[in-house]
C-alpha cells in the first residue's frame, strides 16, 4: 500500500512540474552516479541541458568544486564526448582529471583575458551541439548574462557549469541550480597513515523544481560514494606508491 501511494504521489508531482512549465530534457537522462542525491532533482534526474552554478569562496574550495565537476564530467563524457573549459586565470592541472576517469586530452581549454569574453565564449560554446559540457570560470555573472546562457542551452541541450571563484555577491541568476562544494577531512582506508580519497561537503543551495540539501560525498574507486552508504568491497583502482 505505501508503495502504491508513493507511485501516485510521484505521478502527481510530475504533473505539477509539467503545469509549472518544467520540460523534461528529452529522453537523454544521464546517470551521474550520485545515488540518493538524485532525489533532490526534478523528476529524479540530474538536469542536463541546463546551467549549473558553483560558488566557491577560496582556492581550496575551487579545487573541491573542480573535483566534483570532474566526477560529473566523467558521466557526461562517457562515449567519447569533448568539453570546453573557459577561464581567465586557469589553474586546473589536466593530469589530475585522469583520477576522475576523464581523458584530459578531450578537454579543450580557452584562456581569455577578460571576464566579458569568457561569458561570450561560453555562450558561443553552449550553442555547439557537439560538446558534452562547457565549464566557465568567472567571478560574477549578472542575471542577464545567465539568462543568455540558459537560452543558449535550451536549443542545444549542452550542460553548462559556471564556477564563481571567490565570489561574494550571490545575486539571482537564471541558473537551474546553485551548489557549494567544500573540502571535508578525508579518512584513510583501513586506518593507514596519510591522506585518503577526496571527500566533500556538497551543498545544493538552490534547485529549480527540486529540493535543496546537504550531503557528504567521497570520490573513490572511480565513482561518487555517499558517506553513510557502506563502502564498496571492490579493490581500489589506484595503487598509490608514495614515499
Amino acid at each position: 500500500m505505501p508503495a502504491e501511494k508513493a507511485a501516485i504521489i510521484a505521478g502527481l508531482q510530475r504533473e505539477i512540474l509539467l503545469l509549472q512549465g518544467f520540460k523534461q530534457a528529452g529522453n537523454t537522462s544521464v546517470d551521474m552516479g550520485l545515488g540518493r542525491v538524485t532525489a533532490a532533482f526534478p523528476n529524479a534526474t540530474f538536469p542536463t541541458g541546463a546551467i549549473h552554478e558553483f560558488v566557491s569562496a577560496a582556492a581550496e574550495h575551487t579545487a573541491a568544486t573542480a573535483g566534483f565537476i570532474g566526477g560529473l564530467l566523467n558521466a557526461l563524457m562517457q562515449g567519447g564526448g569533448a568539453c570546453i573549459w573557459i577561464s581567465t586565470c586557469r589553474t586546473l592541472f589536466p593530469p589530475a582529471l585522469k583520477t576522475f576517469g576523464i581523458e584530459p586530452e578531450r578537454l579543450i581549454f580557452v584562456d581569455l583575458k577578460r571576464e566579458k569574453d569568457v561569458l561570450w565564449a561560453m555562450e558561443e560554446a553552449l550553442k555547439c551541439e557537439g560538446l558534452a559540457a562547457v565549464i566557465g570560470e568567472v567571478k560574477d555573472v549578472s542575471f542577464t548574462a545567465s539568462r543568455r546562457l540558459q537560452l543558449a542551452v535550451e536549443q542545444s541541450r549542452v550542460t553548462g557549469f559556471i564556477i564563481r571563484r571567490e565570489s561574494t555577491v550571490f545575486n539571482t541568476t537564471a541558473c537551474v541550480s546553485r551548489w557549494r562544494i567544500t573540502s571535508l577531512a578525508s579518512e584513510p582506508e583501513d586506518g593507514l597513515p596519510g591522506v585518503g580519497y577526496p571527500r566533500w561537503n556538497v551543498e545544493l543551495l538552490k534547485i529549480r523544481n527540486g529540493k535543496p540539501g546537504i550531503w557528504q560525498i567521497e570520490w573513490s574507486t572511480g565513482r561518487f560514494r555517499l558517506m553513510d552508504e557502506p563502502s564498496s568491497s571492490a579493490p581500489p583502482e589506484l595503487i598509490r606508491k608514495i614515499g
Binding site: 581550496e60 575551487t62 579545487a63 573541491a64 573542480a66 573535483g67 566534483f68 570532474g70 562515449g79 567519447g80 564526448g81 569533448a82 589553474t91 586546473l92 592541472f93 589536466p94 593530469p95 589530475a96 582529471l97 585522469k98 583520477t99 581523458e103 584530459p104 586530452e105 578531450r106 579543450i108 581549454f109 580557452v110 584562456d111 581569455l112 569574453d117 561570450w120 565564449a121 558561443e124 560554446a125 555547439c128 551541439e129 557537439g130 560538446l131 558534452a132 567544500t182 573540502s183 571535508l184 577531512a185 578525508s186 584513510p188 597513515p193 596519510g194 591522506v195 585518503g196 577526496p198 571527500r199 566533500w200 570520490w219 589506484l238 595503487i239 598509490r240 606508491k241 608514495i242 614515499g243
Partner: protein, 500 residues
C-alpha cells in the same frame, strides 16, 4: 582557347607620374636628370621641353642652353620600376596575370577576360580611358602573342586589336625594331635597306640566321606565335581564386557581405567538388582610388562550409573602409588541404573531438579572441610538474605517451609555486603547520615525500620534495621543500597546488 595579350606603353611614364604628384608642373618645361660621369644626363623630359628639342640622353647643360628657365629634378634609379609595379598591381582589376615590361610598359595576359567587359575593343578602350583619367598618356594594343602586342603601341596604329591569327599582316609595315631586336641588328638591317619587316620576312630562314644570328629567328617566331613566350606575373596567381568585379563601386557593409557570400559560394562549390577544404582565405578589396584592403581568416581544419567561413569573415567586415567604393573583390585560398571524408549520421551522437561543429566553434573563438587562446594538453614524458603536459593546438594530434595515474597530482596547480612559512619537526618529515596568505594551517594528515629531481639536461636548480597534506578544515594541499635538508639553514618551502 587562343591566348591574348595586352601591352601598354607609357611614352611619358616619369613625367606623367611627376605631374600627377605635382600638378603645378603641368605646363612647365622640366627634365629629370641623373648624374653620369661627372655631368647630369636627362632621363626624361616633359612635353613642353620636348617641343623645344630636348631629348632623353642630352646633357643638362645643353638643355639649359636651349631653355633658360628649365627645371631640373633629380631622378632616382629604380623609380620607374616602382611606378610600373604599382601600375601592374592596379591593373589586376582587369586580369589576374599582369607583369611589368621595363623600362616603360606593362604586359597583361587577358585570355578569357575581355568578354566580361563586352568585347575586346571595349575592354582595351576601358583600360586606356582609365589610365588616361589617372593622368598617364598611354598607347595599348592587343594581339595573340607578346611580341605582336608589344609592337602595336610602339609602332602601329593604336588602340588596336589585332584579330586572332592576323599578326603577320600587321607586321608587314612595321620597322625591324618592332621585333624587339638588338640595336646592332636593327642598324645592319637599315644599312641593307630593309626598312620594313615585310621586306625581309619572306627570306629563307637559313639566310636570316647566317646574317643576323639566332636571336632574329627567335624574335620572329615569338612575334608570329611559333615560339612560346611566358609572362612573369607580378603576383603569383593562386590556384583557388574567385573574382567579382562590380558595375558600380560598393560602399556599404551590406554590399560587401553580398559580394563575399557570392564569392564564398562559388569557391566552396569548387572546393567541395574537388574534395578539398581551405585552411586560410584572403579577401582583397580593390578600391576606386587604387588602394587595396584585405581581410584574412584561418581555420583549424579544412572547410568548405560557406556559412561557417562567412561567419569568420563577418566580424571583420566593419574594419573595411570603402572610402569612394570598392570595384573588385578577389577571394583567394592560399592554403588548401584535402578534406576528411565525412560520414553522415542520422542521429546526433556526441562525436568528441572529431566533430566538425567543435572545429568550427574553435575557429569562431580564435577568430574573435586571436590565435593562441585555444589549446589542449597532451601528456609529456617529464616528472617535473610544470613540464608534464604539453600544449597542442590541433584537435587531432595524438601521442603515444599515456597519462600517469600512479602518483597523486593536484587538480589545481599554481602557475608559479608560492612561498610559505613552515614549521617542520625533523628532516624529511611533513610540516606541522604552515602559513599561507597570512593564514595558519595545522597539518593533520600527510603523505610523502615524493622527490622530483630537476632535469639537469634541461634546467638548473634543486630538486623538490613534495608532500600531500591535509589541514584541520579538510583542505588538501601540495607543498614542497626545495633542495636538501641542510641543518641550520632555513629552508625554502612552497605551495604548488590544491587537491580536490
Amino acid at each position: 582557347m587562343a591566348r591574348r595579350f595586352v601591352s601598354i606603353w607609357f611614352p611619358h611614364l616619369m613625367t606623367d607620374w611627376l605631374i600627377r604628384c605635382r600638378p603645378a608642373l603641368r605646363q612647365e618645361a622640366f627634365v629629370l636628370a641623373i648624374p653620369d660621369h661627372g655631368r647630369m644626363i636627362v632621363t626624361a623630359a616633359s612635353r613642353t621641353a620636348q617641343l623645344q628639342g630636348i631629348t632623353k640622353g642630352m646633357a643638362v647643360a645643353d638643355a639649359r642652353a636651349l631653355i633658360g628657365t628649365l627645371q631640373v629634378i633629380d631622378d632616382k634609379p629604380g623609380q620607374s620600376n616602382r611606378i610600373l609595379n604599382a601600375l601592374g598591381e592596379w591593373a589586376i582589376r582587369f586580369t589576374p596575370v599582369t607583369a611589368t615590361d621595363p623600362p616603360d610598359g606593362l604586359l597583361l595576359e587577358v585570355t578569357g577576360c575581355a568578354h566580361l567587359w563586352g568585347g575586346e575593343e571595349v575592354y582595351l578602350e576601358e583600360i586606356v580611358t582609365r589610365l588616361t583619367h589617372i593622368g598617364y598618356q598611354v598607347r595599348a594594343g592587343m594581339a595573340d602573342t607578346i611580341g605582336a602586342a608589344w609592337a602595336i603601341p610602339r609602332f602601329g596604329q593604336t588602340p588596336a586589336v589585332i584579330p586572332a591569327g592576323e599578326q603577320m599582316a600587321a607586321l608587314m609595315d612595321m620597322p625591324p625594331a618592332a621585333l624587339r631586336l638588338e640595336s646592332a641588328i636593327c642598324e645592319r638591317l637599315m644599312k641593307l635597306g630593309l626598312r620594313q619587316a615585310g621586306s625581309f620576312i619572306g627570306m629563307p630562314r637559313t639566310v636570316l640566321r647566317r646574317r643576323f644570328g639566332r636571336e632574329m629567328l627567335l624574335r620572329l617566331d615569338q612575334f608570329t606565335g611559333l615560339e612560346d613566350e611566358v609572362i612573369q606575373p607580378l603576383l603569383p596567381v593562386e590556384p583557388y581564386q574567385e573574382r567579382l568585379p562590380c558595375l558600380e563601386p560598393i560602399v556599404t557593409g551590406t554590399g560587401i557581405e553580398i559580394a563575399l557570400r557570392r564569392l564564398l559560394e562559388t569557391l566552396c562549390q569548387r572546393l567541395s567538388q574537388e574534395e578539398k577544404g581551405l585552411r586560410s582565405a584572403v579577401l582583397k578589396c580593390y578600391k576606386v582610388d587604387g588602394a587595396i584592403e584585405q581581410l584574412e581568416i584561418g581555420t583549424g581544419h579544412p572547410s568548405h562550409n560557406t556559412n561557417h567561413l562567412f561567419k569568420l569573415f563577418e566580424s571583420k567586415i566593419p574594419t573595411i573602409k570603402p572610402d569612394l567604393g570598392i570595384e573588385l573583390f578577389v577571394l583567394e585560398a592560399p592554403k588548401v588541404e584535402d578534406v576528411r571524408p565525412l560520414q553522415e549520421t542520422f542521429w546526433n551522437a556526441a562525436g568528441g573531438l572529431e566533430d566538425v561543429s567543435i572545429a568550427e566553434l574553435i575557429d569562431r573563438l580564435e577568430g574573435k579572441t586571436g590565435k593562441g587562446t585555444v589549446h589542449r594538453y597532451l601528456p609529456a614524458e617529464h616528472h617535473w610538474p610544470e613540464w608534464s603536459v604539453k600544449p597542442v593546438v590541433s584537435l587531432h594530434e595524438k601521442t603515444d605517451t599515456s597519462w600517469r595515474t600512479d602518483r597523486r597530482r593536484p587538480i589545481q596547480l599554481l602557475s608559479r609555486p608560492e612561498p610559505i612559512e613552515v614549521a617542520a619537526p625533523i628532516p624529511d618529515y611533513p610540516p606541522m603547520h604552515f602559513r599561507y596568505k597570512g593564514k595558519v594551517h595545522k597539518v593533520k594528515k600527510a603523505d610523502g615525500p615524493e622527490r622530483i629531481e630537476s632535469e639537469w639536461w634541461l634546467q638548473q636548480g634543486q630538486h623538490r620534495d613534495y608532500y600531500v597534506v591535509e589541514d584541520d578544515t579538510g583542505s588538501r594541499y601540495w607543498l614542497f621543500r626545495l633542495g636538501h635538508y641542510t641543518g641550520d639553514k632555513p629552508h625554502a618551502w612552497f605551495i604548488h597546488g590544491f587537491f580536490a
